[in-house]
Amino acid sequence: MTTVETQLFQTETEDLISGSEAIAIACALADVDVITAYPIRPYDTVMQYVSKLKADGVFDCDFIVAESEHSQFEIVKHASAVGARTFSGSSGVGWFYAFEAITVTAGLRMPVVAMVGNRALDDPGAFGTEHNDALAVRDLGWMLYWVATAQEALDTALLAWRVAEDPNVLLPMAISCDGSFLTHSQAIVKVPASEQVRKYLPPYDRGKLQLHPDNPITVAPQVNEDWLMEIRRQSDEAMKRSVGVIQEAYQEFKEEFGRGDPSPFIEQYMAEDADIILVGMGTLALPVKVAIRRLREQGTKVGFVRVKFFRPFATEELRQALGHSKAVCVIDRDYSYGSPSFGGVLFHEMKSALYSLETRPLMLNFIAGLGGREVRVRDVNQIVEFGQQAMATGKIEQETTWIGVRE
């Protein structure tokens, strides 16, 4: 634990903190009302920091150690219904244990913000990062974001409550952080002052949907075939509206805090004139960027696009960012057994997004870094070589390639 607790967020500071600590601090800055914890590595470090902030009197919240992940998410769902700002989180199979609660949270339009410390799904036991845990909510009405740095973790958390609680959205949001690489690695992070955050983040107001004796509504009665389609459609429209709300909230964030990318949805790195563009999510951006910088020095026209928001998926921006390229190499830190290309989840989403382009780049998929295995610069070089080969021959020999696997 660093010494942030003594500073009380009076002024903006720079602190050496981990991704988990950055999100814990964001909880305090956002004055979250109810937080629920249950231990599982690696996400639970965020809750260790939250509990310390509370114990030291820096942060006033109801911090509840639940008896399971299912209860963790049920508790925040119900706290959200009465108008409390909420935070929870999990990892790997813990996230899956909570799945019933997770799906109804979206169905009920509760703006719960959760951190997923990405972890491989046991068995066999594995603590390392893999994206299949968080990706499982992709069809449920959760907004889903992958961060790459501790700074981005803090900033995205503030953005998350702002967007999730917007009356035009009211959907939960999960912030995915690669286990160990982000949850446990420290970096210098700009921690804003509480006053700045108060200006940026209005109080959560559930309005006519608040469960309270002054507003005696019935929430989630049986609807069956009579009304479910209309309710699904409303959630769909909320997710569509979230795109504009995210853009506006991100723009204001940049104005208030003075940092951020051109787009809230994707990050482009040397991609404008690139023939080969690598696509990926999370912390593998670091080795990818290092490799690209070196390859650029040798004259190879290669770039990188990092998908930040997986839901809502930035289809149009990705078409614009990738449409000019000759080969797109999608790196998946996840896998979808029996999928159309016997490949990763991101790859299939990318193929779907780019299909309607008039000229489509060649598309290759790489499965890498599963279970927390390191994605090294030389792995990235190998991926680029596959891209170059496809570009030279104009065809794809093998759509999906596992990188760094012992055969």
């Binding site: 109801d62 119900h78 409390a84 509504i217 989630a220």
Partner: protein, 329 residues
Amino acid sequence: MTTVQDLPQVKGVKNIPLEEQFTSGHRTCQGCESALVMRLMIKAAGPRTIVLGSTGCMYVANTTYYSTPWVVPWMHTQLGSSGSAATGTAAGLSSLMRKGKMHQEPINVIAFCGDGGGADMGLSAISAALQHDEYNLLILMYDNESYANTDIQVSGSSPWGANSTFSPPGKVHRIMNKRWKKNTAPMLATGHPDVRYVATACGSYGLDFTNKIRRALTIGGPTFIHSIDPCPKGWDYDPKFSHELGMLAVETGLWVQYEIIDGEVILNGPSRAIARGIRKRKPITDYLTRQGRFAHMNEEDHKFFQERVDESWEKWWIPGIIPFSPKEQ
């Protein structure tokens, strides 16, 4: 701990509030005792109450879009989540009031669950809820002794031998449900010694039921009530006998009415009279033969059933409540 509402004990049935908080709009069966339990529960609690209902009959049959019977704010929760729903609601209110984000006021929080949601799936979440002394909440488990909403399947709270769609008597196996009913309320009371109020209840005794709800809501901290609810569909009897069957469950000594208040056990009504030897227990056959779910049982089964009930009154440390006792010296 936030303060509690002023809900005095009701003296005499004529003084039960007239205002209904659970009215028309539900679709429960004729003779549904659980619907009565809902009505009595919220009548006793009053309008400044939030009710959370976990999946089960009292969700599915009770709460249809556009025709809710609930006058008070009501929200569905998942089958195993009555404990978490109560905790989350109470925590949200408590946090918002403490931080000055919501007007300070004692609001009753009641979460209900059936026997499937409470004694089976939701047991761990109820246990967790009962550990949070800082939240005032009540968990009411309405026990109709089966998963009655999904076609009457046996639960951990079903009686031994009961016919259900998962325990039908067959040509080879007459008794398919060989589990004895869980002793849920004492399990929770002994497991959570800081809980100030745990009780059993029965809708056949309306005034007693009303006052138990009020005591649970005013004593402070988390509380638990377990009610026995005769179910015409699941127990297979004429709906007009619901009240009578509830009374028979008590009069045969199969169901024991009591309150555990701040560490003291107080038997109520006929259960107290039985314990004091003022009243004799009726034979269990009187109860079993009134219900289709036991129609396949033979004399030997009745004898076994009676022996188990006798044992709970004659051999248990606290009759009908604590099944073990200190070794005799």
